[in-house]
């Protein structure tokens, strides 16, 4: 059947702010879907509260609503746009849940909106544990023994039947939030209670554990003609017990014989049919007993998932795009395979390489939380690496993580390493080190449950290291030997560590022997057909398939794995760079290692290299392609930190020169610069000894902000109010650190507001694109505080000073592109804190707020355009306010108090747009998943330091019709029954509120905004506005 003509308009919900378990992969899938459906002539309406996404760019959909993904707003959008269909399978769990609620509340029926892709029943059967188990039983498949429970008692009764360990899985949550493995009654109680809280349906599944079994995933596609194909099989290196999002996973499956694989394939097809997913992609997870091959079905996602994104990148098969087209009636055999052109999308990719995915964690941000891994996902990002062998892809993956995985284990005594064999983020380096120290494969397999095949591969890596160490000096290695060594997967740095030479030296010796990588193609068909898609990876073999073109080209460096502080917003910026440079006539070449991105979609850039973002791997590509320029300033810290070494290697860096970047990063030079320009800085300095520190602090005057000169995960950054506190602080720092760092001490300007500006310069003209006033006061990381643009609380004089300083600084540094500057404002004074001459985290948000794609402009400037040509010559005047709110992963880290601090910990953000600033704030809260109450009780914790302000708030709340209960921090926790907690002294009540899903404010500023929003919201109805209407007068350029 060709495309359906009875449908004209399709609503696609996105997945909201990035959070653990639901990340940038849904920007990738949503963007693909929008492009595909628009491409075949549908009108596409998008809702997503996350501005840091490509999909919410005004060009991607016909109508774009940066609005909360709630029943109320979705209903308004439906009422306004009157879509014929809703496609809920591309926006993760959030979209699926929204679709469910819209159906349950009769909204879809009322407006005649058809669910396409997955029917309501299919969503229910796939997501509801009990319904799923019954469905599996009907088709004769085994699931782990399990039972649903809606109370702790019910759960306890059942677990006594099946025994420990037991798995607890809450229904309808993402990334297994609130779930876990219980080994005894005590931990069982805790996990079940948490799980019941987290499940929107207050139900958990108590399940027999298949801990230690082999874990597999199959990605399945189905069309209306009932054609079913398997896109990819994935095998987890970490056996059952670790959430697949936190596991090292490998595609394709490595240790299944054909008979076993075909059985999983047959089962998958039976499952997708039984669950009734009409069309599109699903992901099915299996556990296989390594002893006898017994198979149990763990779960299925009746939608495109994180694994689908991985499978798409791993095979080159665009799952989300095809899924979207199948939803509107196309059949798989009617759609072409883009890669081969001649063959059809109805086939199963065959790959001739190995793909390894490694998760990236952020436990250093939550030092008080144990870092053991279980069924609840806690990684914040991932890397993917492609190699011709597992060893090569694993080693490439390890270096793609951009972490030092070698030295921490090197110095560790063997007994301590052996104590680290249970699942945790650093287990792989521990295993490699134990193998180096002669521990047997068998022993390590027994201790970890990892399949012997994988362990033997790790052992082969170690054996190769050993052999390399015994080779004659590298001056005598010939080309063939170099190739044999490099094709194992070692980087020059790895080799340098093995033989004690410098990576540079080795690079020179290697190149002198003519040993450079070749680039192979990801083609979905193992070379059976000619591929037209320039999607490449490096290896050390005979034949290169990626001969450079003769066009002028630019290499754009991506941002590597998502992590806290470097997320999807940088992918957003690099994608814009690609579009802009393509428009400007260049061949664009993308380099990145992160599969959860739009940038690594094979049709984003003209050419894609899926490679580690290291100096060696990037330089190899540059030497292969010989581009006219390389863009580093848009991908965050990852490419930026390569700027210097690349410049030294003679690589033409476009945009702001590396030297300028260095000038503002160096504390002393920046200080001198500010002095010269007459821009005030908070007083500060560095002290090498405790006594100096005390003297310096006294000279600056308390309170002061202190931190060690090198970063310790922010733990050691603190506001100090007196000499005693400083002494205690210094003791702690010195006790913990073997080498004494110097201590940086800055004046802490109390009561100051923080302000961010993003400016853009073409080398002649500087335009401040926006002033973003933080909601929370100084002392909270700018990435974690909410902000509003245009500002509401700054007087014209301050604004003039901000503009003036920003322009002066930007001009002096010689920025060509973007710069982000942070200021403190107190009364009538402005202080500069820091400047970063690159794309900042706020670029996507600000671009959407002002209607100018700033990252795109920056790329155009790098290629020689002027701001005047681009149509941005002054700070845009706006008739609406945009609020950005941060989303934090506290629920995933037990025992952590949800309090903001100087260390950034948010994973994502939402945006609220309205003509009224308070309503914009309200929308941002809704968009971040915070359901502010419309009445009822507010619990207020006494705070002697802020008594007056709280008094005012209390009055306002009364006036708005809220009941207010007061509690002192010392009193025992109040029973629930309140709909909002205001706790500025940070008591354990906050954690309680978090776990019960009750909104809370931890600062007076946030509380004030919240209360104002509550007042406004009771008197006015929230409206919805499409981005396209907001800037009807601003010309929008098309990305293609």
């Amino acid at each position: 059947m060709p495309r359906r003509d009875d449908i004209k308009t399709i609503l696609i919900p996105g997945s909201g702010p990035i959070q653990i378990g639901q990340a940038a992969e849904f920007d990738y899938s949503g963007t693909q879907a929008c492009k595909a459906l628009k491409g075949v002539g549908y009108r596409v309406v998008l809702i997503n509260s996350n501005p840091a996404t490509i999909m919410t760019d005004p060009e991607v959909a016909d109508r774009t609503y940066i609005e909360p993904l709630t029943l109320e707003t979705a209903e308004q959008v439906i009422e306004t746009e009157r879509p014929d269909a809703l496609l809920p399978t591309l926006g993760g769990q959030t979209a699926l849940n929204l679709a469910k609620v819209l159906h349950d509340q009769g909204v879809l029926e009322r407006f005649g909106v058809e669910l396409i892709g997955a029917r309501y029943q299919a969503i229910h059967k796939g997501e509801d544990r009990q319904a799923f188990q019954e469905a599996m039983a009907r088709i004769g498949l085994q699931t782990p023994q399990g039972r649903m429970a809606t109370s702790l008692d019910e759960a306890t009764d059942f677990v006594r039947e099946i025994g420990f360990p037991a798995i607890v899985r809450p229904s309808y949550t993402l990334g297994g939030t609130g779930g876990g493995i219980a080994y005894d009654e005590e931990s069982f109680k805790r996990v079940v209670t948490q799980g019941l809280h987290n499940s929107p349906a207050t139900t958990v599944l108590i399940e027999q554990s298949v801990l230690g079994w082999k874990e597999y995933e199959l990605e399945v596609m189905r069309d209306h003609n009932d054609t079913v194909v398997i896109i990819c099989s994935i095998e987890n290196l970490d056996p059952m017990g670790v959430h697949t999002g936190d596991s090292i996973t490998v595609a394709p499956a490595q240790t299944l014989s054909d008979k076993e694989y075909q059985r999983l394939r047959d089962d998958s097809i039976a499952i997708i049919r039984e669950i009734g997913v009409d069309t599109g992609g699903s992901n099915i997870q299996f556990a296989v007993n390594p002893e006898d091959g017994e198979v149990v079905v763990i779960e299925m996602n009746p939608r495109v998932s994180r694994s689908s994104a991985l499978a798409s990148k791993a095979t080159g098969y665009p799952i989300a795009k095809i899924a979207a087209l199948l939803a509107v009636g196309f059949h798989l055999d009617e759609l072409p395979n883009d890669i081969t052109k001649e063959t059809k999308a109805a086939f199963e990719p065959s790959i001739d390489y190995v793909v390894t995915k490694l998760p990236r964690f952020a436990f250093e941000k939550f030092p008080d939380t144990p870092n053991d891994l279980g069924t609840q996902m806690r990684s914040v990002g991932e890397v993917m690496a492609i190699g011709r062998t597992f060893k090569e892809s694993l080693l490439k993956g390890l270096r793609s993580l951009e972490l030092d995985v070698r030295s921490p284990v090197r110095k560790c005594p063997t007994e301590r390493l052996e104590a680290q064999l249970s699942p945790h983020p650093g287990r792989l380096p521990v295993l490699l080190e134990l193998l180096r120290r002669g521990k047997s494969v068998q022993l390590l397999c027994e201790r970890t449950g990892i399949d012997p095949w994988f362990m033997a591969q790790l052992c082969e890596i170690v054996e190769a290291e050993r052999e390399i160490a015994t080779l004659p000096e590298p001056e005598r290695w010939d080309q063939e030997l170099w190739r044999e060594i490099k094709r194992v997967g070692f980087s020059d740095s790895d080799l340098a560590a093995i033989i004690g030479r410098s990576p540079d030296e080795l690079r020179q010796l290697r190149l002198a022997q003519g040993s450079a990588p070749v680039y192979k193609t990801v083609d979905t068909c193992a070379a059976e057909f000619e591929a037209y898609t320039p999607y490449h990876y490096s290896t050390y073999e005979w034949e290169d398939e990626a001969a450079p073109s003769t066009r002028d080209k630019v290499v754009i460096l991506g941002s590597g794995p998502n992590r806290i502080g470097q997320g999807v917003e940088f992918d957003y910026a690099t994608v814009h760079a690609v579009w802009a440079l393509r428009e400007a006539g260049y061949e664009t070449i993308m380099v990145n290692s992160n599969p959860e991105t739009v940038s690594t979609d094979y049709d984003t850039a003209d050419r894609l290299y899926f490679e580690p973002m290291t100096f060696e791997d990037v330089l190899n590509i540059v030497e292969h392609e010989r581009p006219a320029g390389v863009i580093v300033q848009l991908g965050g810290q990852t490419p930026l930190k390569l700027a210097r070494t690349l410049t030294e290697a003679g690589v033409p860096i476009w945009g702001t020169p590396a030297e300028a970047i260095h000038e503002v990063e160096d504390r002393d030079r920046f200080h001198a610069l500010c002095l010269r320009l007459g821009i005030p800085q908070p007083r500060g300095g560095a002290a090498d000894r405790p006594d100096d520190a005390k003297a310096l602090a006294a000279e600056i005057g308390y309170p002061v902000m202190v931190r060690p000169s090198y970063v310790l995960g922010g733990r050691a950054m603190k506001v100090i109010r007196n000499g005693e506190e400083l002494e205690r602080y210094l003791e702690e720092v010195y006790a913990e650190l073997s080498e004494a760092p110097s201590i940086l001490i800055d004046d802490f300007i109390e009561g100051a507001r923080e302000v961010d500006i993003d400016a853009i310069s073409d080398g002649e003209l500087v335009v401040v694109a926006g002033i973003m006033e933080h909601i929370e006061g100084a002392g909270i990381h700018s990435g974690d505080s909410a902000c509003i643009t245009p500002s509401v609380g700054l007087n014209p004089g301050i604004e003039r000073a901000l503009l003036n300083y920003s322009v002066r600084l930007t001009e002096t540094i010689g920025v060509r592109g973007l710069i982000n500057i942070q200021y403190l404002v107190r009364d009538n004074e402005v202080f500069i804190i820091e400047a970063n001459p690159r794309a900042s985290r706020t670029i996507p948000y600000l671009s959407k707020a002002i209607g100018h794609p700033l990252a795109k402009y920056a790329a155009r400037i790098a290629a020689g355009s002027r701001l005047a040509d681009l149509g941005l010559t002054e700070t845009p005047r706006l008739r609406h306010y945009s609020v950005k709110e941060a989303v934090l992963p506290f629920t995933k880290f037990t025992g952590v108090l949800p309090v903001l601090g100087p260390e950034m910990r948010s994973t994502g953000e939402s945006m609220g747009i309205d003509r009224d600033p308070d309503l914009a704030y309200w929308k941002a809260q809704l968009g971040a998943g915070v359901r502010l109450p419309s009445g009822g009780k507010v619990l207020l914790v006494d705070d002697p330091d802020r008594a007056e302000q709280l008094e005012l708030l209390e009055q306002d709340l009364h006036n708005a019709g809220f009941a207010v209960a007061r509690t002192s921090g010392a009193a025992p926790p109040q029973s629930s029954g309140y709909g909002l907690l205001i706790d500025t002294v940070h008591t354990p009540l906050l954690r309680q509120a978090l776990e019960n899903g009750i909104p809370y404010a931890t600062t007076v500023e946030a509380a004030t905004w919240t209360v104002r929003a509550l007042q406004k919201a009771t008197s006015s109805r929230l409206g919805v506005t499409a981005l396209q209407d907001l800037f009807a007068d601003v010309a929008v350029t098309n990305p293609d």
Binding site: K259, E291, H331, K344, D352, W453, E463, C525, A527
Partner: protein, 383 residues
């Protein structure tokens, strides 16, 4: 230079291209037609598939040997492939079904292997240049030896036009013991895979396998209710006798042809076959059933195909089409219960999507009332 102490080996193609790698499997030297297979699993089934007789198989998936070898995965009593080319051969086999590792299996059956070469480059070479003969040689070959090896490859007998069935068929007929009262099906063994026999039994038949050169009279004397023409190696034009057998039996029995069996049926009724540039060898080929519109993912292993245009239209219709290159994948007689497919419904390795064809055949067998009830046919389509 050899890393990890691996012994050297070389692959030489008849056009003089050489690939240096490492030896594995049985030490020695082997010559044959080099083909590639894109299936990511099932190396054991591929090695033991008699259709690979005379061929050296390159696996495009880089890791081979991971899950060892199992007595249950044999597609015949021994490997038939003449050589094995892989990117990386796995010394560790890990799977509960494994009885043996691939290395000792290949040693036992004297299969010469080479690993460590750029198999993707080789595959692209085969794709662009077509099928070519080659030699695997264990050892460090100098220039002179390479020249000799190239000559060996060139002089090696071509598969085209040869009848290879005598080399692979069973010497004697055999019946599979059964305790069930199922209708009897005679399977002509042109180089059969065990899975075909197994799937026929599973679908409900008593199977008697007969040598390729069994005469029509001998077959009919067994009183069968169905006839299966098996897969097998080589050029379908080679075994001329089989064209006669098939033609004489046409219309007398429900008939089911698989792969070579399909090609023989095509030739027997006056169709023509041609050699594909590099064949279809893999487990992911989409085939469309043109009758029902359904798409199935199939296991394939053939270098020749029946030309669609050559089918005698008044007798046969195309039932299945290859979605990748539009070649003929299946056909059926318009009146008789006679049909055949180019691909492998028995899978092994590969997907089970086409397993329904066995059931369909057995349905025909069950509906069949004995040879005497058939109309006498004078078939005119034969050239």
């Amino acid at each position: 230079m050899a890393m990890l102490g691996k012994p050297p080996a070389i692959l030489v193609l008849e056009d003089g291209t050489i690939y240096r790698g490492y030896a594995f499997g049985c030490p020695g030297r082997t010559v044959g037609e080099v083909v590639f297979n894109t299936s990511m699993t099932g190396y054991q089934e591929i090695l033991t598939d008699p259709s690979y007789h005379g061929q050296i198989v390159t696996m495009t998936y880089p890791h081979i040997g991971n899950y060892g070898v199992s007595v249950y995965d044999m597609e015949s009593n021994r490997p038939f492939a003449k050589g094995f080319i892989v990117r990386e051969f796995s010394r560790t086999a890990s799977n509960h079904r494994s009885n043996q590792d691939l290395q000792s299996f290949m040693e036992q059956h004297q299969i010469v292997g080479i690993e460590g070469i750029d198999t993707r480059a080789l595959t692209r070479r085969l794709r662009d240049g077509g099928v070519i003969k080659g030699v695997i040689y264990h050892g460090d070959a100098d220039e002179e030896e390479v020249t000799a090896l190239v000559a060996d490859a060139r002089e090696h007998e071509d598969i085209d036009g040869r009848d290879m069935t005598p080399e692979v068929t069973t010497p004697l007929p055999y019946a599979r013991p059964t305790f069930k009262e199922n209708p009897r099906v005679v399977v002509v063994d042109f180089g059969i895979k065990h899975s075909i026999v197994y799937k026929l039994e599973l679908a409900g038949s008593e199977v008697i396998v007969v040598p390729a050169q069994t005469t029509p009279a001998q077959i009919m004397a067994l009183n069968p209710y169905g006839l299966v023409l098996s897969n097998g190696p080589g050029d379908p034009d080679g075994p001329k006798y089989a064209h006669d057998t098939v033609w004489q039996l046409l219309g007398l029995l429900p008939t089911y042809g698989i792969c070579l069996g399909h090609q023989l049926l095509g030739l027997a009724v006056g169709g023509q076959t041609f050699k594909l540039k590099y064949g279809h060898h893999g487990a992911n080929t989409p085939v469309k059933n043109v009758i029902t519109g359904a798409v199935e993912i199939t296991s394939q292993n053939h270098n020749y195909a029946v030309s669609m245009d050559s089918l005698p239209g008044q007798q046969f219709q195309a039932t299945h089409i290859n979605l990748n290159d539009d070649t003929l994948e299946g056909m059926a007689h318009v009146r008789y219960p006679v049909f055949s497919v180019q691909y492998h419904p028995e899978a092994s390795p590969g997907p089970h999507d086409a397993g329904y064809l066995f059931d369909r055949f057995i349905e025909e067998v069950n509906a069949f009332e004995g040879a005497s009830a058939l109309p006498a046919v004078k078939f005119e389509g034969r050239v």
